[in-house]
Amino acid sequence: MNQEETPIIDDERFKNCFVSKNVNYAKRKACHPRLLSVNHIELHKSKVTRDPIAFIGLWFIGIYWKIKKKLKSFQNWLYPRKLIIYGTEKNSEIIGKLLFGQKTHDDVVPIHNMHLEFWGKTLLGSFRRFGFAISNENGEFSISFDLHACQKWYITSLRVEIYHTGNHIYKDGKPLNKYILFHTARVKKADLIGLEMDLGKLRLFYWEYDYNSPITRVIIKDHDKDAPEEYSAGRLETMEKQFIPIELIKLKHLAEIALIKGDINIKKIQKDYPLNLTQCMELKEKGITRSDDWFGERFMNGMAACDFDKDPNDSEKYWVHYHWNSYDKTQDYAMPDVDIKFKLKANGLPTPVEITLTGPLNKHELNERPKRVFLPTDGEKWMAAKRLARVSSALYTECVHHLCITHYNAEQFSIAAHRNLRLNPLTNLLFPHLKEASLVNHTADRILIGNGYISKATALTKKGILQLALQNMGTQDWKNWKPIQPISEKHTFAKTANLFWEIITSYVNDYVEENRTKIVAHWHEIYRFSEDLVAHSSPYFLCNYLTNMILDNKGNYDANKSDWYETSQRMDQSIERPIINGEKKSMSHITITKNPKDVKDEDIDNLKQACSFIMYHSSFGHTWSNSKQYDDIGEVLYCSLGLRFGTSDEGALGPESDMSIAPDLTRSTQMMWWSNMLSKTGYGFITKNEDNDINPKLIEALKAKEKDFNALGFNIDTIQSRTNI
């Protein structure tokens, strides 16, 4: 095979290794252990139940919950909640004000346009509806009702129900509002005496910003109790079924590691997990995945999907950087700064021509920062340098492209959207793609970030991870954003991304234009959405190097100076940053207009851009960096998230066969568990539309381009609708 002409990805021998499989919803077997809750997933040993007595107990609990559910369904069937209003005259009112919960920060921030219902329950268990209202811009509501109707002797209890407003499902191609009960405020029957009854300020712990976090996060103290949203039932069930087999493998390894350290090794650990892409290819041709061509292909079109900047000193070359020096680190793992130079081959794929590693690579130079340059002619050292570069790239992709750009971006948009969008048709557009992000991020806090996997498997500490996240979130902005532009015909990631971007922007444009009148009518919600998004976004960040290289003396973007700098897929440095409380913010205002009458075309365009941005990242963007994890970090020795210094003088530059460099056994099985769990489990795909909340027009638009995606080797059925794993 002439690798100059035929990319490895097109090589027939490896075709079946590249077949992207859809996530299968596993069938649970009776003997399978149970995971009680997503909150019980743990890095070390998740809380699964396996012993027979616990099984029996769980069975009874399961029966209890099933009976309770059936009784509730029976009650709902027997006494359906009719929407007629009981009572003949509106002679009384229940008034109040909805505010966000945190007195210290949100003391006067009202919750507008929230749907409220006033219901009573009868002796026999049926419900009577007495009135409803929507809170106004100041969060005030007034529910008018007939006092005599709710004072009837058979009305036993009264309540004001507050609903999540803005969710929907699609039925026959049309969105149908789906109100989900959020909070119930009991009303004493004896307290209703006519005229107005004031429930006072109802502070709802509803999508509260976590001011203890440096990045934009929602407060969740307990996932099962006070999270502002819930996973869909289907997602929970599917997740549990898919997760158990992977968990069992990890538990087996952990047990073996604890008991018989001598017998288990990385090879055995690897063998127990499903074959990944690189292993499959190695079976066909040994060494193929360690080659320069493969290295280049994966940096361009793999999980990494790098941002290629031109070398300012040599326009024929491209470079990619991973710099870790400014983050808080331990000395348990080698984590040098990595600079890779590529050149494009005739077939359009990149090949590495130089790798520079700056930082200690063995235990003898922990307090030094030696700089080493490696070339393809360096033999085994070149192989080792590539491995370090792969590892660095994998960690960067996980922390930046995956965690920050998709997960944290989705969450910051999700918080602002759920806090402010309710009656605006924008909810139909955005909510299906923003949901569940806060929940999965909360789980990640516990088992991945913080004291989770990354701080144990890499040199980054918890502080270092937060520093990295804060800086990267400070580079996130929707304005003028577009995906990376192809640098060659073989840049399939860029082509796929742009194809998806085209679909999303067109879909968003059509949707906004179709619903423009209503969107503008409820512009106040968008104004507040924009205000929250900007005010709570991370501080603007640009590293010193780029500050010198692309900005002029006055701190303005200098296009002439930065012709080497890849501007797509990055923040537009030429636009002015909003300043909130003296601090430059990363996110731009979508609008500064409160009044619907003053809305301009520019505001509408901004809105379209912002929606396209986040919908792209939460769906396709996340799918790319998530689903390809098992391909690129599914083989421990090929690529992990960290390499140790090892016991030899060569340190991290030793060969793959030196097990003292590779992650330890526990970290190895945990990494395999991670990459399997994240890539091979999933629920909520655009084309599958399991929750019936995806606009059929988006599905149609995707399917219309299915052939184009297939030609690029991408299966549209794998595109998740939201970031929930």
Binding site: L83, L176, Y179, A190, I193, E196
Partner: protein, 366 residues
């Protein structure tokens, strides 16, 4: 749950409705009787005090009906007719004139301790703090007085109560004689022409003087439940009663009794009877009805045994019937039908003596 919104009205006009109406009347009767009995036992006989308005001063004089051509003729209000009268000014709650309280004026068209052809009970404030028996029960339940603070939960729940308190409470007025008092609740007025009308009454100073004691910005911003005296208050607990005695000693105190009328119509809004809503003066102007001249204060004992009742009204000027405890007219129904409590109080005073006069001491906010 799908809340795509449809509304329909459920109309109940049936035998069930009639039964419900009588049942509601029964409940009103029951509440009134039960409240009266409890008040009699615990308030009148054991506590030997009024339910409210304990801190007051009585006086006697005369009422002369004016000749007002705008007034619909009524046999009781014969122009230029004079009735002897007794009045009593009081603070609605607490026994300290310097606290922030509603002030009252009760008028009896007779120089008698109880019997009278016409009694009126008026308070400061154009609107009341409660509007029905049901709301009054809540008012009573949520009283929870402590150190001059009361009705915290009531005001929290009921904005109308706050509005009534802000309208009715007076802080350190100069004199009872320059306050404006309102009946707030409407009564019947079936004149010589036999046309059903409703009436509200008010008493204002005879001379055109500014009302004192209105709540200032500080008091308006202060929570209504805080009725305590102001820090550094120098006025005594009895300053207002002392002032009234001095004022009468130096001359007659004159008031104007005025009336608002509304001709009953089939399409009258129920809110007409709501004592928390004023009648617009443009459509319901205040008409001069009588002049009250007060000549002499009563002794403490005479003031204590003085009792007023809405039962002392001619039928054509009497209480409007009520249908339930939520009916706006139920308040007057309860007032009218709680005479047992008043009579028991007076009886206990006659038997065991009246309570002591309030001393001018430092025991404030009581």
């Amino acid at each position: 749950m799908d809340l795509n919104l449809k509304t329909e009205q459920v109309i109940t006009k049936s035998a069930v409705g009639i039964v419900r109406l009588w049942f509601n009347r029964f409940i009103l009767w029951f509440y009134t009787k039960a409240f009266t009995i409890l008040l009699t036992i615990f308030g009148s006989l054991i506590g030997r005090k009024r339910m409210s308005h304990n801190n007051g001063i009585g006086a006697r004089g005369k009422v002369t009906i004016v000749d007002n051509p705008k007034l619909i003729p009524h046999p009781f209000f014969e122009p230029n007719k004079t009735y002897p009268c007794r009045i009593r000014h009081a603070g609605a709650s607490f026994n300290d004139d310097a606290m922030r309280v509603v002030r009252s004026m009760s008028i009896k068209f007779a120089d008698d301790q109880f019997k009278s052809p016409f009694d009126l009970e008026l308070n400061t404030g154009k609107v009341a703090l409660f509007w029905s028996v049901a709301s009054f029960m809540r008012f009573a339940k949520y009283k929870k007085t402590k150190y001059g603070i009361q009705y915290h939960k009531y005001y929290k729940n009921y904005p109308a109560g706050v509005k009534g308190a802000q309208s009715g409470m007076r802080r350190n007025p100069d004199s009872f004689s320059n306050l404006n008092f309102y009946s707030q609740t409407p009564l019947f007025y079936i004149g010589s022409d036999d046309v059903n009308r409703y009436a509200k009454y008010r008493v204002v100073p005879f001379e055109d003087v500014e009302e004192t004691g209105l709540l200032d910005a500080y008091d308006m911003s202060n929570l209504s439940e805080n009725q305590r005296i102001l820090p550094g208050e120098k006025r005594t607990r009895n300053y207002l009663k002392e002032e009234y005695k001095k004022r009468i000693a130096s001359g007659i105190i004159k008031y104007k009794l005025q009336i608002q009328l509304h001709t009953a119509a089939d399409d009258d809004d129920n809110e007409l009877f709501n004592c928390c809503k004023e009648w617009e003066e443009d459509s319901h102007p205040w008409l001069e009805l009588a002049v009250i001249e007060i000549e002499k204060t009563l002794t403490w004992e005479e003031s204590c045994i003085l009792a007023f009742s809405l039962g002392n009204l001619p039928e054509s000027l009497g209480v409007i019937p009520a249908k339930s405890i939520y009916d706006y007219n139920s308040l007057n129904y309860m007032r009218k039908n709680s005479e047992l409590a008043r009579k028991s109080r007076v009886w206990s005073f006659n038997l065991f003596g009246v309570p002591s006069e309030l001393p001018d001491n430092d025991d404030r906010n009581q």
